[in-house]
């Protein structure tokens, strides 16, 4: 008896894969490796890639895609899709821009923009989770709706001046750690030794603000996916929605929440982008939803639902932006960018399909 229970215990306590074996089966890991190789190759083969100003651009540009990609990852894990993020980005940017142009301070305008974005997401979520319309159709409708509202709001004018808090908005979206350190140096006094230290830091480290936002949000999402009830439930819904309902998971509330969060992330990206561009146009975020979905899929999130990581969304966004950036630097006609991005989507999904084919054969 004791011999039997020992072996049973051993079996129950054993892990099937070691941590390294598990890593090698992850698409995200290989995309990460590919990104590092691309980074190294570009740094060595061109003089212009590995320069502070270019890296700054890459980091900032991929941040917008990455921030929205995190929300999109949550949506896709539940088995849904959100096509309205580009339009919601535009709407949020328009609300913050128009309100600030009308001399509202940023601390009123920005929350209003985020509320408008979340209202769109709530609308999406209710129609998808409660009325049970397909996510594709509802968010397609919202894509049209939100952009149209943004254009109505703009009154077809270009805005370059954002009122009393113009500087704050521009610093938020277009600034970097250098600005923060300079500000800190001013606070403690530039002539003190601490102030001198901050001044030195401001000369050394340039991380664009959107990239800092991306890093913070990636940590929050990564934590939420693994450690919270919400995270557990979105994976359960994507894996087997019927089972989730039967076991008492509040499926409709959770599904609504992912669309609200996706819209919120698009809204945040919208505010940052207005700050960076220093202007608002109705073309903001046009086609963004497809780049975001591409980044998320390249990062290893399965469109069928039930799997995905925050890290994958970031890696996917970085890889796409590096491709775009390098093609420009190498002097290749920008029309080719789509071909490369498309090829990467196919390769990424192919990886998954081949794995599935192998499993079916077993």
């Amino acid at each position: 008896m004791s011999a039997i229970s020992t072996t049973l215990d051993e079996t129950i306590n054993r892990q099937t894969h070691g941590p390294i074996g598990q890593l090698l089966t992850k698409q995200t890991f290989w995309v990460f490796i590919a990104s590092i190789i691309a980074f190294a190759a570009l740094s060595l083969s061109t003089d212009v890639f590995f320069t502070p100003s270019n890296l700054f651009n890459v980091a900032r540009n991929c941040a917008f895609v990455g921030i929205i990609g995190l929300g999109m990852t949550a949506v896709i894990i539940t088995g849904g899709i959100d096509l309205s993020v580009g339009a919601i980005l535009a709407l949020s940017g328009m609300v913050v821009g128009m309100m600030m142009a009308a001399d509202y301070p940023i601390w009123i305008a920005a929350p209003c923009a985020l509320l408008a974005a979340m209202a769109c997401g709530f609308f999406n979520g209710v129609f998808i989770a409660y009325v049970r319309m397909p996510a594709f159709v509802v968010t397609l409708a919202m894509m049209s709706l939100a952009r149209s509202l943004a254009m109505v709001l703009s009154g077809n004018q270009m805005v370059y001046q954002f009122g009393v808090d113009h500087k704050k908005l521009v610093a938020l979206g277009g600034g970097s750690t250098a600005g923060w350190f300079t500000w800190l140096a001013d606070v403690v006094g530039t002539d003190t030794s601490l102030g001198a230290f901050f001044t030195r830091l401001s000369e050394l480290i340039y991380i664009p603000n959107p990239a800092i936002f991306l890093a913070i949000f990636a940590l929050i999402f990564g934590f939420a996916f693994r450690w919270t009830r919400w995270g557990r439930y979105i994976f359960a819904i994507g894996g087997n929605q019927k089972a989730a309902i039967l076991t008492g998971v509040p499926v409709r509330q959770i599904k609504t929440s992912v669309y609200v969060i996706s819209a919120l992330m698009a809204g945040i990206a919208g505010i940052l982008q207005v700050g960076w561009l220093g202007t608002i146009t109705t073309g903001m975020g046009l086609g963004m939803e497809l780049i975001v979905i591409a980044a998320v899929v390249i990062g290893g999130t399965n469109l069928a639902g039930g799997s995905g990581t925050a890290f994958g969304a970031v890696v996917g966004a970085v890889l796409i932006e590096m491709i775009r950036n390098s093609l420009t630097l190498l002097g290749i006609n920008p029309f080719w960018q789509g071909t490369f991005v498309g090829a990467f989507i196919l390769i990424a999904v192919l990886f998954d399909s081949v794995k599935k084919l192998k499993q079916d054969e077993e």
Partner: protein, 246 residues
């Protein structure tokens, strides 16, 4: 004390009389084989016990206390658990995550409530050990055999110290070896004093594990007797109507 007592339960769907005056009493640690042809009313009866339907007529008591279930969650709160035919498992989650789905364990880090993965792995491992099933809490359900999947679904019912477990066709779509595993799992439930209602078409399985057989035909109970006093031939006759009542 009876775990479950049904008194004169009837269910009508419009003009169709699905169940007609069913009375049934189940004791702790008893395995009941509920048999009958398609449309005999097995599923309807199980859905009434599980709280999916309400009976048109009749009374139901759990542990000698009269109950009325409006939703499945109320049945669960009263110690009645169901193992669904398709098991209701999420393939993309681990065994432990499936066991605790909807009833997760938490711990606090300061003001933040987080999932207590370690406690759930440990508890689930203990349940599998009790079931004598070689199921690893950290494995994804998609990599598991039919028997292991059943163990996960059954372990789920053990979380709440269920008094009665309803199993809907657990052996319908699995291999012979896995059937043996499932029957062993049912015996382990019985040893723990849990009553089991096993809905099945498969005569050998019911005779292998059940203490008592209840046969339904066209919504009426036509037999309720100890397995030792019956035979597969008799039960077949009762199901098809070749034998009127036993």
């Amino acid at each position: 004390m009876s775990v479950l007592r049904l008194t004169d339960i009837s269910k009508r769907f419009g003009a169709i009389q699905a169940l007609n005056g069913i009375s049934l009493s189940i004791e702790p640690g008893e395995v009941i084989g509920l048999m009958g042809d398609n449309g005999a009313g097995k599923s309807t009866l199980v859905k009434i016990i599980a709280g999916n339907f309400r009976p048109t007529h009749g009374k139901m008591s759990v542990a000698d206390r009269e109950v009325e279930f409006h939703r499945p969650i109320e049945a669960r709160e009263n110690g009645v658990e169901i193992v669904y035919q398709d098991l209701a498992l999420c393939d993309n989650l681990t065994a432990a995550a499936n066991v605790f789905l909807g009833r997760e364990k938490y711990r606090w880090i300061g003001p933040i409530r987080i999932l207590d993965h370690a406690a759930m792995y440990k508890h689930a491992g203990g349940l599998f050990r009790e079931l004598k099933s070689e199921t690893r809490p950290r494995d994804l359900v998609k990599q598991m055999s039919g028997g292991q999947r059943q163990a996960v679904a059954i372990a789920r019912t053990m979380l709440s110290e269920a008094k009665l477990v309803l199993m809907d066709e657990p052996t319908a779509a699995i291999s012979v070896r896995q059937v043996a595993e499932v029957l062993t799992l049912i015996r382990h439930l019985r040893e723990r004093g849990v009553a089991v209602v096993l809905i099945s078409h498969r005569m050998p399985d019911v005779f292998a594990v059940a203490d008592r057989i209840v046969v339904l035909r066209r919504g009426t109970k036509v037999a309720d007797k100890a397995v030792s006093k019956s035979s597969p031939e008799e039960v077949t006759g009762l199901i098809t109507g070749a034998i009127e009542v036993a």
